[in-house]
């Protein structure tokens, strides 16, 4: 049986284990589910985050992003399935094993009574890899007021402190839960800059409900909707895979039957057909379009922005879900 099979627990392999196990995946989940009472917050999520990736987990508010992150960080326990973080079962992620993982969340409760300087000083002995010059550099870069108490800081400043404390020990994995939510553009840029400076040595896993803020720098993306992971893949592959196809028809045409399942959001008028090809393969795909539309005049296949890809997928999934719900309702009657 595979070590990641549902119901099995992966034993820890020591603090340095796991970085190169499981095909280099820093995070790997399989069938990961979480239920709060009757509410299914996360349903059978399976994803892999390769080493060195900047993985953006996107989804609307309430999609289950924070729940997934809390499961990875062992703040919550899964109802079913399992997860590995740096090669360690997520339920073993505690104590010394957190010396290689940085975590920043928008809704963390900080020790408000501490000053910025005292907090960084307090954290220092917890991490053998704490880099004091880097700490000083981050304090300067984020313009942090060392003598001010955390309770006196603005939201943006607190996020910067959290980020500085998570970066100063050069973590192997940085987990960020909505790190930019509600921040003004200047602070957001400063944080991103700080983050990207450290990106080469760290795998970053972050969640966001704003596609535009992660599109520019993410290498991988996963999309959660209502607790289900709709897809998870490399950004480049995703961009290459999706094409907005516009077919101009010369004259009348018969409605084609058996359209490929990878064609989403299919719309047609008498002279124009438009759809999203979610499995575009360049010339091969064009030939396939011509096969379905022999009367096609011109075929345009345009690359799509991330936002459009997400909308296409989300609408398709919702449509299918409604369809199956209606079918189920009909069969009950």
């Amino acid at each position: 049986m595979n070590a990641m099979s549902a119901g099995t627990r992966v034993e820890p392999r020591g603090p340095d284990a796991g970085e190169f196990v499981q095909g280099g995946a820093v995070i790997r989940t399989e069938g990961l589910s979480k239920r709060f009472g009757k509410t299914e917050a996360l349903t059978e999520v399976g994803l892999e985050v390769p080493a060195g990736a900047i993985y953006a987990l996107v989804g609307a508010n309430g999609a289950g992003k924070t729940t997934l992150i809390k499961l990875l960080m062992n703040i919550l326990r899964p109802t079913a399935g399992n997860a590995e973080v740096l090669g360690i079962d997520s339920q073993q992620v505690r104590g010394k094993r957190l010396q290689r993982i940085g975590y920043v969340s928008e809704n963390q409760e900080f020790p408000e009574w501490m000053t910025v300087g005292a907090m960084l000083e307090y954290l220092r002995p917890f991490y053998p890899t704490w880099d004091k010059p880097l700490e000083a550099q981050l304090v300067q870069q984020f313009d942090l007021p060392a003598g001010r108490k955390l309770k006196q800081l603005s939201r943006g400043q607190r996020m910067k402190v959290a980020m500085a404390s998570a970066l100063a020990f050069r973590p192997k994995l940085l987990v960020l839960d909505e790190p930019f939510a509600g921040l003004d553009p200047l602070v957001r840029d400063e944080l991103m800059e700080g983050l990207l400076d450290r990106a080469p040595e760290t795998t970053i896993f972050l969640s966001s409900h704003d596609l535009s803020e992660i599109e520019s720098f993410s290498s991988h993306v996963g999309f959660l909707e209502q607790g289900r992971l709709l897809f998870s893949e490399e950004m480049e592959v995703l961009s290459d895979r999706f094409r907005e196809v516009t077919v101009t028809l010369d004259g009348e045409r018969a409605a084609p039957g058996n359209l490929p399942a990878t064609w989403l959001q299919y719309e047609a008028t008498d002279s124009l057909v438009r759809f999203v090809d979610s499995a575009s393969r360049g010339a091969e795909s064009e030939a396939e379009v011509r096969l379905h539309f022999p009367e096609a005049g011109s075929i345009e296949m345009e690359a799509m922005p991330l936002r459009a890809i997400f909308l296409a997928i989300a609408k398709e999934k919702r449509g299918k879900a409604q369809e199956s719900a209606q079918k189920a309702e009909g069969s009950r009657k």
């Binding site: 809390k70 960080m73 703040i75 919550l76 505690r94 104590g95 010394k96 094993r97 957190l98 010396q99 993982i101 975590y103 969340s105 809704n107 963390q108 409760e109 900080f110 020790p111 009574w113 005292a118 307090y122 954290l123 002995p125 917890f126 991490y127």
Partner: protein, 528 residues
């Protein structure tokens, strides 16, 4: 350990105001507590006020501990999913170690220091009490500090901890009320602290397991369940301990060398005192045949009364206090609690009583003789004693002897002294002509080096009276406000438990004294 010290240092920086308050309150307790033995007739008004405040200081000290423990535990709250520290490399052993170290340093440490000071101030030496001090700290941790720590660990904020604590108190009151409603009687002294030890193991065990589980895995609901489960065996034990079967097991039927009988000789008769639902009947008894060097103590009684018409009523086990019988023949009055309705129906009829006495047999120890002093007297094996006084007939009269002892009450002690009627003889006389005066110090029957409490010094009192005198002197059995003279020898005799038994007494054919009206005391000739 390094991490524990690091967190400990952070907590000191954060909680120094709370630490200062707690230490100051503990200091206040150490300053005020000696007034519990310094006050008395003739003491000044401020001293009396300070004595009254000393009880308040103990309460304040406990409250300051609760505040300090809750705050320090919840600085790294274990409940919830938003805490900053849970994603930092805290080792649970280090975190728990830091919290325990903090409690040891700022709750147990100052308390221990205050206890040592109080022991010295009370006239004893702290180093002689080390085993007791150590055991008391263990008990304090198991019964109070540990449960507070556990409660703070399974709740998410100070408010919630406070509400939970109040809920625990409400449950405690409800359980006690339920126990009172279901009361089938109980005897206080038969358990020999076995119940207390079992309760300690249970509370400390469940509390400790909940704490470790919560720190190691942050499984709040399981930890809460574990803490809540303490109630089940505690309530069961409380209920079981009062069952007649268990009392019968603790006091097995055995042959007794002594003899107890009704004494209706001239001048002695039954007395009654009518209460709302009960009537207390005091049965005059005579106890003979107690072996030399021993004594017999009645811990409880269960009475069955049967009228001539066959009507029957059986009491529950009722605890009895102050009934200690010595060799040579002793007259005593045994109080029986009788249901008022039965009493009214059986009043003035011939009645038979079958009494079952729960008896503890005692063996006397060394007789320690200390000359009476107007100041304090050091009594080996007891502590430091002084004569307690009461203002009457234009002068202070002795009412008894008060003693203070470190860590626990002294063992059960019998005190015997002679008093002067009018005035003390000239100096140099060893003894005064007068009557024998006896008193019983209800001490702690166990041999434990410490009794559980928040105080290091225990005060015990002997009420001296002449109620139990030799049968030959029965004409002179009257109460006195005695005059104790300096130099008069006071005899302190300590007793140890040698066994327990049930003793059956049948009181044949007597009449219950008539009641004189509802709510009336109805005393009808209590003559001893």
């Amino acid at each position: 350990m390094k991490q524990a010290l690091h967190i400990f240092a952070k907590d000191i920086r954060h909680f120094w105001p709370e630490i200062a308050i707690s230490v100051a309150v503990t200091g206040l307790f150490a300053w005020l507590f000696p007034y519990t033995w310094r006050h008395g007739p003739g003491t000044t008004e401020p001293a009396r006020l300070l004595y009254q405040l000393s009880s308040l200081a103990i309460v304040l000290m406990a409250v300051s501990w609760w505040l300090l423990i809750t705050r320090v535990i919840q600085a790294e709250s274990l409940v919830g999913d938003r805490q900053w520290w849970v994603t930092k490399p805290y080792e649970w052993q280090g975190l728990l170690g830091a919290k325990v170290l903090f409690i040891a340093a700022f709750v147990l440490g100052p308390f221990l220091a205050a206890e040592c000071v109080l022991i010295e101030v009370a006239g004893f030496h702290w180093y002689a009490c080390l085993p007791g001090l150590a055991l008391q700290l263990v008990m304090l941790f198991g019964f109070l500090v540990g449960p507070l720590l556990a409660l703070a660990a399974v709740t998410s904020g100070f408010g919630k901890t406070t509400l939970t604590l109040l809920a625990v108190l409400v449950v405690f009151i409800l359980v006690a009320a339920l126990g009172a409603m279901m009361d089938t009687g109980s005897l206080a002294s038969y358990g020999d602290n076995a119940g207390g030890f079992a309760a300690f193991l249970l509370i400390a065990g469940c509390g400790g397991a909940a704490i470790v589980l919560q720190y190691a895995r942050r499984m709040s609901w399981l930890s809460r369940l574990l803490l809540a489960s303490v109630w089940v065996p505690l309530v069961a034990a409380m209920w079981l301990s009062s069952t007649p079967q268990l009392i019968a097991m603790a006091y097995p039927a055995a042959k007794a060398s002594f003899h107890v009988a009704m004494d209706l000789s001239p001048g002695r008769k039954l007395a009654m005192d009518a209460g709302a639902g009960r009537v207390t009947v005091t049965a005059p008894l005579v106890v003979t045949g107690v072996d030399g060097g021993t004594a017999v103590r009645v811990d409880g009684v269960r009475a069955t009364l049967v009228t001539q018409t066959g009507k029957r009523w059986t009491s529950r086990w009722e605890p009895i206090y102050g009934q200690l019988y010595f060799p040579g023949g002793v007259r005593a009055g045994l109080p029986l609690q009788v249901d008022r309705k039965f009493y009214e129906s059986a009043e003035s009829q011939p009645v038979r009583a079958d009494l079952v006495l729960a008896v503890t047999k005692l063996k006397s120890g060394e007789d320690r003789v200390v000359p009476m002093s107007t100041g304090e007297m050091s009594v080996p094996g007891v502590g430091i004693c002084w004569v307690s006084l009461e203002w009457g007939t234009g002068t202070f009269r002795a009412t008894g002897i008060d003693c203070r002892t470190p860590m626990r009450e002294p063992p059960e002690t019998y005190v015997n002294v002679r008093w002067a009627e009018v005035s003390c003889p000239a100096d140099g006389r060893d003894e005064v002509p007068g009557e024998g005066m006896v008193g019983q110090m209800m001490g702690d029957p166990s041999n434990d080096p410490v009794q559980f409490g928040l105080v290091p010094i225990w005060k015990s009192a002997v009420w001296l009276e002449s109620s139990m005198v030799d049968l030959a002197d029965q004409a002179k059995i009257v109460r006195h406000s005695p005059l104790l003279c300096a130099g008069t020898p006071i005899h302190f005799t300590q007793y140890t438990v040698t066994g327990r038994l049930r003793y059956n007494v049948r009181l044949e054919n007597f009449r219950l004294p008539p009641m004189q009206g509802a709510g009336d005391s109805g005393m009808t000739g209590l003559s001893f």
